[in-house]
């Protein structure tokens, strides 16, 4: 029945708009750790990746292949005293993230990577709103953990959205970073977006290879903060 399809599609959209489709679980490294982490946070510091399906590793068979997963492996192999929490949620918009951040702040955060906005862009949500929500998230993190290091992951929308909108959208991230004096990864998907071989069949979520490159893009900035 047509209605069935629509119900189904509703889910698809909710997920997709989140810039993911249905994401696979990021195993135990996901925010599952949120509560548990508080216990042993004394010995280890915590890095939280707060984002959408790109963070969650949507569509990857093994979510540890997502870019936070790749970074976690790197940190582990370098024996750095950090615990990585993947708080990615497919379909998350900046508004959603702003609503959800309180849940995550229950645990101590030392490094906070903010990867949101892609879903706003794909839905053509006015950039002012996106900017405001991101600012609010940063404010909340700062208020609770003033010492936390914050990294903003820059995003771009595909060119088909039109030059006007893409330029405005792109500009949100550097502007926020300089305003709040936080670190910035200029574009998370640099050298990945638009390259079919580095993306999944949907053309928007990175493949395993793509996630490695994205991780490298982030690592360049992150490594100096650890």
């Amino acid at each position: 029945m047509h209605q069935f399809k629509i119900t189904f599609l509703l889910f698809a959209v909710v997920a997709l708009a989140a810039c993911g489709q249905k994401k696979k679980p990021a195993d135990n490294q996901t925010p599952a750790a949120a509560v548990v982490a508080t216990a042993d946070s004394s010995s280890q510091k915590t890095i939280v990746f707060f984002g959408n399906s790109l963070t969650a590793g949507y569509g990857l068979d093994d979510p540890s292949n997502s870019f936070p997963g790749v970074i976690k492996n790197k940190i582990d192999s370098l024996k750095l005293p950090y615990k990585v929490v993947n708080a990615g949620l497919s379909g998350e918009t900046t508004a959603g993230g702003n609503g959800r951040i309180g849940w995550l702040l229950k645990q101590k955060i030392d490094v906070f990577l903010l990867e949101l906005g892609a879903n706003d862009g794909l839905r053509g949500i006015p950039v002012d709103g996106t900017s405001k929500n991101l600012q609010s998230i940063i404010d909340k993190v700062k208020a609770k953990y003033p010492d936390a290091k914050i990294v903003l992951l820059g995003m771009m929308v595909p060119p088909n959205m039109g030059a006007d909108y893409s330029n405005k959208f792109k500009a949100v991230f550097p502007a926020l970073a300089s305003k709040n004096k936080v670190s910035l990864v200029p574009f998370l998907l640099k050298d990945v977006a638009g390259v079919p071989a580095l993306n999944q069949a949907d053309g928007i979520h990175p493949s395993v290879q793509g996630a490695k490159i994205a991780a490298q893009n982030v690592w360049v900035v992150l490594k100096d903060l650890l």
């Binding site: 995550l104 839905r123 959205m161 039109g162 638009g194």
Partner: protein
Amino acid sequence: METLAVNYKRKMNIGWLFTMAWRDSRKNRSRLFLFISAIVFGIAALVAIYAFKYNVQNDINGQAATLIGADLSISGNKPVDASLTKLLDSLGDERSQERSFASMAFFPKSKGTRLIQVRALQGNFPYYGALETTPEQAGTTFKKGQMALVDKTLMLQFNAHVGDSIKIGNSLFLINGILNRAPGQSGVVAGIAPVVYIPMQYLEQTGLLKIGSRVNYSFYYKYNKPVNMDRLTKKIDPMLDKAGMRYETIEGRKESTGRNFGDLSRFLSLVGFVALLLGCVGVASAVHIYVREKITSIAIMRCLGVKASEAFLIYLIQIVGIGLIGSVTGAALGTAIQHLLPVLFKDFLPFTISVQISWMAIGQGILLGIIISILFALLPLISVRNISPLNTLRLSFNEAGLSRDPLRWLVYALIILFIVAFTFLQLDSWLGSLFFTLGILIAFMILAAVAWLLMRAMRLLINGSWSYLWRQGFANLYRPNNQTLILMVSIGLSTMFICILFFIQSILIGQVKLSSSGNQSNMILFDIQNSQKDAVAALTRKQGLPVLQQVPIVTLRIEQIRGKTAADLQKDSTIKIPHGVFAYEYRVTFRDSLSDSEKLTDGTWIGKAEPGKDVPVSVEENLAKRASLKIGDKLVFNVQGLQMPAYVASIRKVNWGKVQTNFQVVFPTGVLEDAPQFQVLLTHVSSNKVSAAFQQAIVHSFPNVSVIDLGLILSVVDELLSKISYVIRFMSAFSIITGIVVLIASVRISKYQRIQESVLLRTLGASRKQIFTITALEYLFLGSLSALTGILIAFAGSWLLAKYSFEIPYTVSYLPAVILFFIISILTVIIGLLNSRGVLNKPPLEILRTNA
């Protein structure tokens, strides 16, 4: 005295047989006419129903083609390479291409910006249906210049008019028309972003197609001659699949659009089958009674030296003639009805039904009429073969050794074979035909058994203490030359068909849910943040729109099932839980009661969680099956970092066939209230105008909230569905009416059964009132008992049909059944009384002379 030896070795004179057949028919033309009229009604019913059936099937198929607008569409999200281009160019007789993608449109006049879906079109797509626009011709003329067709709601939202411009990418397009409806749109993408069509030759200059652009490439094909789509798509599928492309056919879309198409075609098959049997009932009962009446004439002829085979052939010829005349007339009448009805009711019908002469229906009608005539005439006629002339004259003929004759069984077998074959023509499935025929056979046997029991019971029950009239009335049911069996079967079967059609159609109509009707949602708002939920709902109500549903949605995953995690799954292959169950991101809700689309199948619903204890959750049936979850199974959910122990308290069946939010897992209240969540709100907008105003208001106050307007998509589907439900109603009403006509005709032919007794009674001094009472009692009893039996069989039959053929939940409607019971009983009595009216009103002798 010499005995006049009959030369039984003489050659058969075919010409003489025909002459005799003709002569015999002259004896009583009015009686003959009555029998022929029963055949005519039976065949007319069949031909008209078949003809309607074939026509509406074509109509609906034609309408379904507008769902995708072409015979075949192929789409993918990558540019096609050279080898695939070759394949794509080899398909179809006419080709169109489309590039579609999301973009931001700018309306210079109102300075408004909004996400749209650009569809750049080249070629004559749509081949079925049209881009319905205002002004009308814009649907084709926009391709001639740098012009665009803009979705109606979007136009309203930005107060744009035809002649204004819209900026897409770097280019300005002149708005040539308002897009009201377009074929081939599907999915929520079109709902979340209103559609703007532009000609493909102006796509390049918009500058929107660059590396990294997300574009969907579609190819539409039309075939001028019918092709075997199944074979074609099977052939091209591997190549398309390799290129990451999908295809869609009309059949495929029909299937995914919903079960209504399947329901309709199954229903039409059922109607076809019922028509077939109505035809059989009409013809068979007429022929059966006619031939039985001829037994005396046959006996006399036999006494005068006519060979058994000759007598047999004379009447066979006569029956073929009667069958032929009846069938041809019936076919003509049926075709006339089929052509006249839509004209007569033109003003009442919401849709036009095309009226093409269906030679298939006419051919089947005539063939069926003749074959059934012959087969049912054979039953009494073959027994004439073996019986001595004197024996045939005796009244006991009816009971005499009928069942022993092996030929008789052959005829039965032929009749069954024939019904199976004709059913196959309607159902296109041997198994189905077999089951249907078997069902009819069982119904027939039940009716026959009831008739037999009735006769037995009457024989035992009637005694001298009853009043004379009652005794006579009931004794008529079992005395020689009774009509109990034949009337029971024909009234019972007709009632059963009528009832089944009525039940099934009302069940089916209940399945057709139109988005435009009542409170079906056609707009979805999502990503409403918790802090916004009350304000959004208030705004919705302020705009005069209903809040049909507002639910919180929490995203979580399953961490453990019965203590096993995804990691255990990889280590231990004996755990029978698919990996996907852990991998999936569940969007769940929490509430204190079941929704109206849910039904518990197991366990108990618990609407409130007790603090500190495991959370009782309700799991959807299919998920429970996949993860083999039982009541009481322990689960651990991962609610974005928080481990939440839970257990399966109940298992629900969910009706996914509604535009509303449904969930695989439902939590009780009291645990997830503080978890990160967003809200979804469903509402119903009545027009584009309302939708535009509402979207405007939402965007203004809550820019993060996304609105999906399904109105445009649903209106295409709605039109189709309302046509389907209308067709179902029309066909069932028509079949029911023809069924009643056939029923009347088959009762009517019993007119001459009772004439001699009635006349005899009158001669002996019975008053009109007495004869009236006797007849009324007999018919009342026959009518009510067979109607009751028929209705009871119909209950069982429609339950079986609903469960196994249509696979929909069975709901009983008692009131119509009761009404039908009274209608049929009273109808039978009225016809019975009409039948004996002649006897009551005219002097006995006159009747004896004209009808002897």
